[in-house]
Symmetry: C2
Subunit: 263 residues, 2 copies
Amino acid sequence: MNWGAIDKYAKSLIKEAGHRIRVSFYTNISVDTKASANDLVTNIDREIEQFFIERITKDFPEHRIVGEEGFGDTIDSLDGVVWFLDPIDGTMNFVHQKRNFAISLGIYVDGVGMFGYIYDVMRDDFYHATRGEGAYFNDERLPRLENTPLSEAVIGINAIWVTPNRYVEHEPLIELVRSCRGTRSYGSAAIELAYVSSGRMDAYMSMRLSPWDVAGGMVIASEVGAVSSTMTGEPLSLLGQETFIVAKPGLQQHILKHHIRLK
Amino acid sequence: MNWGAIDKYAKSLIKEAGHRIRVSFYTNISVDTKASANDLVTNIDREIEQFFIERITKDFPEHRIVGEEGFGDTIDSLDGVVWFLDPIDGTMNFVHQKRNFAISLGIYVDGVGMFGYIYDVMRDDFYHATRGEGAYFNDERLPRLENTPLSEAVIGINAIWVTPNRYVEHEPLIELVRSCRGTRSYGSAAIELAYVSSGRMDAYMSMRLSPWDVAGGMVIASEVGAVSSTMTGEPLSLLGQETFIVAKPGLQQHILKHHIRLK
């Protein structure tokens, strides 16, 4: 397998998809809902996913593709080469803001993340990494992260997790919000993973994410020394919805130990 | 008074200050804390405020200037012309992220907001308005806002206000977070006011803001039909720290009535 060529191929596909998304703002965008009234999807999410899948299946027929909109494969193992794609991560931002969304792509081989890409389309910010070769923000190498105490940490957490919910006790999370330097919420797991990887936040967490939300970002985060896991501290299976935290290593341990009590 | 000239003057000052801030990233930035460990200030906040104040006092000696860093005037009335300046709104983002902060400026005459400016420095996004003449995002006129039901609203609220705090009962705010389409938190009141004004969010609120955080944004928001008030529904005094909400009109009424119970 010529991995360098696959890396170039993936980058060029993502840039072309980004261009298509920017052009889409001059067309009619139709918004539907999926699992719930706040789970939005548009014709553009679908068209961009189909664009990726048509190209990848033609050029790499033996690879499998898992995409948010369901045009790809359903998998029950990570054997072989699997592409995890979110054509528009942060669809609510895409619809309401026309910005603050990203294309997220991760390429895994037998369960090991080889390539990760996050493209913040409207900022034209491209985060990417190759396993063992470091992570980049545009053309700039991202430095390894140094640890930060909780009192100086900026944490990506949505307010919803600080309210009673079915996944986690919210009281210890109230303590987390009150103990850190500040919280942010951007509405795109991919962008928040990119922010942790580039040192703009110190941790990001959510109680329910899908493989395509995090697969690309996890490769990037890993190359700068951030730790990704479920809320029980296990590696993600990438086979279904899971809890998720990415953080600088000491901080991840501290948060899991003191602020996470799963229901 | 030649108001058109003052508008041009203010715009050019803000652009020059933005340039100085961008250049500052190539110098040493020293970070101090103010009222609390999470209330950050840097030498750049101070230098930029002094840059504005030196220019404005020289060119408009009869105007008063109220700035976050305290180099300007202390006021106990809004008589005459008052400039409300936050040289870097979102200092924590400036320090941690090198982005997502803004210069915020409002020019008031006898308590009436005449000009409002918000400059998202790193995106190079400039929001501005003149009373009675509409609001602009860069060179594009911002449309008047249409109302949005709470169930479809994206609301800017920091997770801290959904935890027990000294200003407001947090339980009704938990209900707000669970009833809206989604919440975001960007860590800059000016940027969040700009987002409401440009339709990217439907409301933004905080329990403790200073005049310089909101004075510029309120002029912009008003020109697109958004309502700004304290949490009791009163106009802001702009003479000290206050509670604050800006929203599309029906939404502001709904939130105040059903989700705000001040302590």
